[in-house]
Amino acid sequence: MSEAIDTQGGARRNGAEPVPSAEPLTIAGRTLRSRLLLGTGGFPSLAIMAEAIAASGSELVTVALRRVDPEQRGSLIDVLAEGGVELLPNTAGCYTARDAVLTARLAREAFATDWIKLEVIGDEDTLMPDAPELLRAAEELVDEGFVVLPYTTDDPVLARRLADVGCAAVMPLGSPIGSGMGIRNPYNLALIREAVEVPLVLDAGVGTASDAALAMELGCDAVMAASAISRAQDPVRMARAMRAAVEAGHLARHAGRIPRRTYATASSPDAGLADFS
């Protein structure tokens, strides 16, 4: 962690150039060159957070809304502004549509953004979304002009309902928040890809780079990572790994993988084989 903060793009000096052919992602008219969204929670320090954000190449990072603590004059907003990233406020900690809607309105007031990562939690142990409350809050916030990005379960029907009420993207979990269990049901994620046309962002459960690559290979448009990076032993290195994985998965998805087969298919020709008998 002795490297200086490079706000010009920390990964570039390490040779991790963005893939030139990767087309940008557009959500609600905003173009993002990076398909990696970052959470800001859990980093050991603001300096390491800033370095990891730069290394990740991410342009959109989430923040939570909490009571002002007069003892702690953190400069989170300033650090993020220096890094040149956009804020995506979340409604983390809300258990009802009412609280989530109010939190979204406060976030709009505080950060002058209509974008909201909508979280309505239904269970404190699993942090799984409360589907009816989530849908209710999404509908209300869309009506109020918000660009709503809901954290949802990996249920294709709920994802479609969220898209139908006007959400700008859907953000299903791969496994519980912070669990690092990866994508427990890749079939559902693939079904969600078929069910909605809005951008699909894998939200929770990413543990390591291969999880992010798999999400992209399954058809996600982007991956959101928080704890997987911030709580890694070396967050900056993991941020680089996630960036590379998202780019690799995206390329692989669009390269068209070979079908899976039960038996081998020789990659060397039979013709011209020597006869040693």
Partner: protein, 67 residues
Amino acid sequence: MIRLNGEDCDLRAGATVAAALAQLDLSPEAKGVAVAVDGEVVPRAQWGLFALADHARVEVLTAMQGG
């Protein structure tokens, strides 16, 4: 008595939202801050005018690392 971020504070009925912010060492120009009174957003433009009623519950929020 007025509740400010979950605690009783020295303000009395009639004090403005701006006065409540001052209790937290925040100026009306503070960046990245939003205020709710009794569950409703008070826009920044009204901070100097909005008078708090007795027993008002004031929430002053800002960005924290999360998500």
